[in-house]
């Protein structure tokens, strides 16, 4: 589904290199978790995959379902089935959720050759998917993320994920700022959306998200590269020992 090879990325403005030769392969239906200390490049990876401006790819390739992902604009990537759940969801004052989702869903469906949904079908879909993450269906008339609580914003991201039915979803620190109940709701929603055709990349600081969404692989990102890969037990080990032991181990190797 997604294959990243030797990815080097710098910040456009000052040329600082953040990703320094990252390799990652995600197969269909797999759930991968990326963990790492602050400043290791986790969010940069999410942003670059989604096509955010401000980064320069200096080397490497990213193939998405056989296509060159880096050639596509952000909206084209979204229409091809790549979804990013934002760490800090953006507010759009005066833009209703229903209007926003209508445009988003219809443009994605149109691109994928599916017929446009009727307003009724769309509303019905919104109702069902909102229930998945325990969001009040009345949210359809609220402005996108405006006046939403922190937890609502995160649940709203998963709600949109459910609406857009992407092939590949990146969750950028979706667990941060969530209490345990909200975390469980978000995780239930994500688990419900797992399928053999849909892959996930979970970016997180903490192991506790992985208690609820059990990954197939755990990677440790450090200093712009993936320095260790393991199964779900690796997360527990990190929780217990922190990141320093990996640092020591990798420096020894080097």
């Amino acid at each position: 589904m997604l294959e990243i090879k030797n990815l080097h990325v710098s910040i456009e403005e000052d040329g600082t290199e953040i990703l320094k030769g990252l390799n990652l392969k995600v197969g269909s239906g797999e759930v991968h978790a990326i963990m790492g200390p602050n400043g290791s490049g986790k969010s940069t990876l999410a942003s670059v995959l989604a096509g955010k401006d401000g980064y320069e790819v200096t080397n490497g390739t990213v193939a998405f379902c056989g296509d060159d992902l880096l050639e596509l604009a952000a909206d084209e990537r979204a229409r091809e089935g790549l979804f990013l759940a934002f760490q800090y969801p953006i507010e759009l004052p005066g833009v209703s959720m229903s209007n926003f989702l209508k445009q988003a869903v219809q443009s994605v469906r149109e691109h994928q050759g599916k017929e446009a949904l009727t307003s009724g079908a769309l509303l019905q879909m919104m109702k069902e998917k909102a229930a998945l993450v325990h969001l009040d269906p009345a949210l359809k008339s609220r402005s996108v993320n405006e006046g939403f609580s922190g937890g609502e914003k995160k649940r709203n991201e998963i709600f949109q994920l459910a609406m857009l039915e992407p092939k590949f979803a990146i969750l950028d620190e979706t667990d941060s700022g969530l209490d345990i109940d909200a975390l469980r709701i978000v995780a239930d929603g994500v688990n419900h959306l797992r399928s053999p055709e849909r892959s996930f990349l979970l970016i997180t600081h903490y192991q506790r998200l992985l208690d609820y969404i059990v990954p197939d692989f755990v990677h440790v990102l450090m200093n712009g590269r993936i320095v260790m890969t393991g199964g779900k037990e690796l997360a527990l080990e990190l929780e217990e020992k922190g990141y320093d032991w990996i640092k020591d181990e990798t420096t020894q190797l080097a």
């Binding site: 952000a74 005066g94 833009v95 926003f100 988003a104 402005s143």
Partner: protein, 486 residues
């Protein structure tokens, strides 16, 4: 901002005017230039009574003193080129003076103009029940639904017709709210106004239809000097719509209209405008100068006047629809969206003059600037010594598309009564790269994202417009934003 965003915003900001065309209807023009003879010519053409000619001449003489003392207002945040008043023709009326029973009799050329403008007059009449008093250049060409209005004793006709048929009403109220001494352009208008609309709602009548006037400036080199007078008697209500589009021109056209509204006890007037005159080409050449004086007086207790405007056109806009809140418990409202792009300049806002007790006013202004345009909000809230418990809430938000445009806010507060409460909020924001990225990440194209965000920004204003007008307004904003991308 990224390169693609900048490109797109540039395209948005320089999109060409879509309504630029000229209708070939023969016109009869006054001699070029401004003089006492011009004023007499216009008055004679319109077969006006002596008192009106006298009034015009007083205005003319006053204007001459203003002109000689160089009293053209220069305080606005506008860069106004020299206007040669002697190079303008002050009167133009379609030569054929048709009187129609139905639209079928109307010049097909005119009907096709409406079609190109996307204003299906017939559909509107049939489906929506709007009466359209079409002002083509200066003389009204068609008025419909008179029967329905007659039944209720409502008078809605061209200004010229009102002068002939209801001289007592015109004489009583003309210049009551905007005297000819009010300002430079109001003086000019009073001297040479060609036509306009007149509306009178008698006591206790709720006007059953929305009254609508489409103004068009259609004659090259003709200044348009419309005069609108709306009088709403005790306990009555009217919703009045004014929409404008104009043909493309290479020379600047001066437009100095005056609108006066008078609301008696318990009367309510809702006045909505969509202004989309030719803004000039991408270099800013040839657009309309829109110097308008609009003012209403809440004469009676518990009366209400509400102004809603969507301003997207003209190369220069100078316009402050205002309310004089004279009656106790009267209410004034001003809701505005001003969108400027290219080299457009707008200095617009309102004045709320609180005189009566327990009067209240609300001002919500949204300015959107793109390209190299300049967009200013200027508003006065005045609480006179007698305005016990006067209240005002003002909110002025500006949005910038790109980094070569300007947004300015000039609030003036004059509070002379200690019991008054005045609140003012102002924000300026840039359409965020992060907002656009968020939309794009959901599969929405960049132009659609900008449309969504701008429409969201204006939402509470557009919601004030009557339904059909709101749809037109949203379409207009979308077209304006689309530019060459859509």
């Amino acid at each position: 901002m990224s390169d693609t965003s900048t490109d797109l915003l540039h395209q948005v900001a320089s999109s060409e005017y879509k309504y630029g065309f000229v209708t070939n209807i023969e016109s009869e023009k006054a001699q070029v230039g401004l003089s006492e003879d011009t004023v007499r010519f216009i008055s004679a053409k319109k077969n006006e009574p002596e008192w009106l000619l006298e009034w015009r001449l007083k205005a003319y003489r006053h204007f001459i003193t203003l002109m000689e003392s160089d009293a053209m207002p220069d305080w606005a945040h506008l860069n106004i080129p020299e206007i040669d008043l002697q190079a303008i023709s002050y009167y133009s009326a379609p030569k054929k003076k048709p009187e129609y029973e139905s639209l079928n009799e109307v010049d097909p050329e005119l009907i096709s103009t409406f079609k190109r403008l996307g204003i299906p007059v017939q559909e509107q009449e049939r489906l929506v029940g709007i009466v359209v008093d079409v002002v083509m250049d200066s003389v009204s060409v068609t008025t419909t639904f008179n029967a329905e209005l007659d039944k209720n004793g409502i008078i809605f006709c061209s200004f010229g017709e009102a002068v002939q048929k209801h001289p007592e009403l015109v004489k009583k109220y003309l210049g009551r709210v905007v005297p000819y001494t009010d300002n430079y352009y109001a003086a000019l208008n009073s001297a040479v106004f060609s036509d306009g609309s007149f509306c009178y709602i008698p006591k206790g009548v709720r006007c059953p239809v929305e009254l609508s006037t489409y103004f068009r400036i259609n004659e090259s080199g003709t200044g348009q000097f419309e005069r609108t007078l709306i009088v709403v008697d005790e306990g009555s209500y009217v919703s009045y719509l004014e929409g404008c589009t104009a043909p493309q021109r290479d020379e600047n056209q001066l437009h100095a209209a005056v609108v006066e509204i008078i609301a008696m006890d318990d009367a309510e007037v809702k006045y909505s405008t969509i202004q989309n005159w030719y803004p000039g080409n991408a270099q800013g050449v040839g657009g309309i100068f829109n110097f308008v004086t609009k003012r209403g007086i809440c004469e009676g207790d518990r009366s209400k006047i509400s102004w809603t405007q969507l301003e997207t056109g003209s190369s220069i806009t100078w316009k402050y629809p205002s309310c004089i809140l004279k009656g106790d418990d009267s209410v004034g409202e001003f809701y505005s969206v001003a969108f400027t792009k290219g080299k457009q300049q707008a200095d617009t806002g309102t004045k709320m003059i609180h005189i009566g007790k327990n009067t209240s006013s609300t001002i919500i202004s949204k300015g959107i600037s793109a390209g190299n345009s300049q967009n200013a909000y200027r508003g006065l809230v005045k609480m006179t010594p007698g305005a016990e418990n006067g209240r005002n809430f003002s909110q002025c938000d500006s949005m910038l598309l790109g980094d070569r445009c300007g947004a300015h806010t000039y609030p003036y507060l004059e509070i002379m009564n200690p019991s008054a409460q005045v609140e003012h909020e102002a924000t300026t924001s840039k359409v965020g790269e992060d907002q656009i990225f968020y939309c794009k990440q959901r599969g929405i194209s960049e132009i659609d994202a900008i449309k969504l965000i701008v429409n969201g920004f204006c939402k509470e204003i557009l919601a004030q417009l009557p339904m059909e007008f709101a749809v037109e307004a949203r379409n207009l904003l979308a077209i304006e934003l689309e530019g060459s991308v859509g």
